[in-house]
Point group: C2
Chain length 332, copies 2
């Protein structure tokens, strides 16, 4: 059986790195061995230890010729995880639209020109949705993004859908939940605290909680997130029936639920390292975010995530605790 | 009171021409007199008889510099009706994406650079929706277009929304129903027969009906469509609450309802000029189209359309019957 050539864009980011490690460790994807890994990012990706042939590329997807360079590899499977993250796309309007929209369109055009019709897995986001919402958002709810990042992801989905409909790529867009617990340092994303209030205390450090404990949100672990991507690579896309944007499953819980799980696992002393310091700006932003999804289609398609926040903490402790210095700082 | 400078893109199309005539005849828009009309299209627009100063421009929105030329007029109100229509965008993938997506993005960028924040009214379409549907599509239903044209219109909406959110334009997107009765000759659009089965018999000619009489669809007259655009120009956009894509009201009726209305108005002899000649391809396409919308938001915002198909026929008879030779051939 011939193996697959797999291209990961955004391979230096947290999810990209974990995906590359997963493929390097168990080099099987969509029922075929992984023959070659091509890792691309704007900063140098790290090749995981592996017997799989790995090529690391550094480059800016937004500059002339880069999409064509990537398409020329004629990968069988493309994971497009590269993006200007939400906070940055909001601050730098031109940068966000250039990378997340125009460069993505050019990438699809370059793949079309290469004419090898790869499986194309696009990491979209629940940021395509914007309040007001029903308590539980159905799969057929409209996209009314409240950030440029969300608008760009929604456009990416429409591009993937039309290029797929025309048979130019074999595409699927996964609307990823907020990934929690993110390893690494806190960053400037408004969502940073959802991971910080678990990660910092487990590392013996104080964490700031800027919102009230009754804030509810939608989570999946990095492990589940990588699982979504791997599952999407092998999925029979006829099952999507022409609607290739799928809201991924996740776990809906409140900040209070998060803290209770932390206390149960690590004890009260650790949980008391969370200090409540209300920040009205962050609170206002977070109130416009989804709290829960039905995600029925994803379940029918075999995507699965955690159902208990304690599992999410355990995954962090097993995968990342103690290797925080390796972690990136990107976050949507 | 100073008057408005109004720019119409796509001014040689059927709706653009009727809008220009309306503004020329009653030169008042958004509570202010119309001081100047600038009409633009890829074919030469016709200046309506008017006391309003009118400039006719011919040019291709997709070529370098054209968006900047248009933005340099610093119009107070921009009607963006220009598009590659659905059948053509489906046949010519590059042309559709170039004009309907990339050129629209460049137009918004050029307007942003001109920094005069005009009211920007974008003619979107019910083609942003794709089957399967509920019988009556709610305002919060997702966009899953089944044509490149529909995908491009959905992207246009997302651009208008984000540029508006950032205060770069003062934008609104109107999802127009199928316009009926279109004056002029039949064209190659799959929807052409909806107008043809009324227009041709009223002109003493035979019309082909390619689908069964139980096909149901969503209509508004050209007069109502122009009314939507004019109403949008004067609307308080704060009422949109950050969701500037609005499904316009329309009339849901079957082909049988259309024929019954024609028979009542023009008599059985005229109605018998409709010849049923099933076309499976057209039938299959039309079956994926929306049948009815709730359109509650539009009603709350004061948009109004016909509620009786007989009114739609009467509007055609009053506005267009006998002047068919003046009509264009564009159709979504």
């Amino acid at each position: 059986m011939t193996g697959s050539r797999v291209l990961i864009l955004g391979a230096a980011g947290m999810v990209g790195r974990k995906l590359a490690e997963r493929l390097a460790g168990a080099p099987q994807l969509a029922g075929r061995p992984v023959k070659e890994l091509i890792l691309h990012d704007i900063v140098a990706p790290t090749a995981p230890r592996s017997t799989v042939s790995t090529t690391c590329l550094t480059g800016n997807l937004a500059i002339e010729g880069e999409a064509e360079r990537l398409a020329s590899f004629r990968a069988d499977i493309v994971f497009h995880l590269a993006a200007i993250v939400s906070g940055e796309a909001e601050r730098d309007f031109d940068l966000g639209w250039n990378v997340n929209c125009r460069a993505m369109h050019r990438l699809l055009e370059a793949i079309r020109a290469a004419a090898n019709r790869p499986r194309f897995i696009f990491s979209s986001s629940i940021a395509v949705f914007g309040a007001p919402f029903p308590d539980e958002i159905p799969d057929e709810f409209h996209c009314t993004p409240l950030t440029s990042y969300g608008a760009q992801k929604a456009i990416g989905e429409l591009l993937v859908a039309d290029f797929s409909r025309k048979g130019l790529v074999d595409g699927i867009s996964l609307r990823l939940p907020t990934v929690c617990v993110r390893p690494g340092k806190a960053n400037l994303a408004a969502s940073s605290f959802f991971s910080g209030i678990i990660r910092e205390p487990l590392n013996g450090q104080e964490a700031i909680l800027p919102v009230s404990e009754n804030v509810r949100h939608w989570f999946a672990s990095p492990k589940s997130t990588v699982g979504f991507l791997v599952h999407a690579a092998g999925l029979d896309l006829d099952l999507l029936k022409g609607r290739p944007s799928v809201t991924m499953p996740g776990l809906s819980c409140t900040v209070a639920d998060q803290i209770a799980a932390l206390r149960e696992i690590a004890g009260d002393k650790v949980a008391r390292l969370i200090r409540h310091q209300p920040d009205e700006t962050i609170d206002r932003i977070v109130r416009t975010w989804p709290q829960a999804f039905q995600a029925r289609r994803a379940a029918e398609l075999g995507f699965a995530a955690e159902t208990d926040f304690r599992d999410i903490i355990h995954i962090y402790m097993k995968e990342d605790l103690g290797r925080a210095s390796h972690a990136g700082q990107k976050s949507a």
